[in-house]
Amino acid sequence: MERLLNDQIVKQIEGAFHQLKQPVQMLFFGSGKDCEYCADARQLLEEVAAVNDKISLKIYDIQTDKDIAEKYNVDKFPAIVIAAKDSEQISNLGIQFSGVPSGHEFSMLVNDLLLVSNRDSGLSPAVREFLKNLSQPVLLQVFVTPT
């Protein structure tokens, strides 16, 4: 299959990935049926994971790996969970993207990988303090478009 990322983009993300600190685990959830863009999304992530050893990728099918999808609260496909990885321990930080991360969304993916790798949200102390004491779940769904 033809590559999705050209040499120039690979070079750019190679540069960005110099800032990676800790390992990151991407979990891809696709579907063997009724998914027009799952193959593209999967290939894109495979190409990204190949750029740097600190990024690894696991491939799941939302139908056959239902338990894992539920564990990570994934209810759409294609979807990507970006989790922290420490030795073999994967920690879900609740960061997810639903859709194919192309166009503008591709830089969001790269930023998310860096953020998770640094293990730092970058939030202000006041916001951290509030969030630490949350007693109810908060779901933030950010709608975006690739263009």
Binding site: Q96, S98, G99, P137, L140, V144
Partner: protein, 55 residues
């Protein structure tokens, strides 16, 4: 306790329509308890989260 999900509005049009997404980015807090249109500073988003939780 906190989950953040980026969603492609074109790929998941039905969901986008359900929340009347007309411009991006649009942030939907707790399935519509509050909405934030545009990219806003951290403090503004926090204020909306607080309102969503107070509902």
């Amino acid at each position: 306790m906190i989950r953040a999900e980026g969603i492609d509005a074109q790929e998941f049009q039905e969901l986008a329509q359900q929340y009347y997404v007309s411009g991006v980015p649009q942030t939907v807090i707790n399935s519509g308890a509050k909405m934030v249109v545009g990219a806003v500073p951290e403090q503004n988003l926090l204020a909306q989260i607080k309102l969503a939780l107070a509902n």
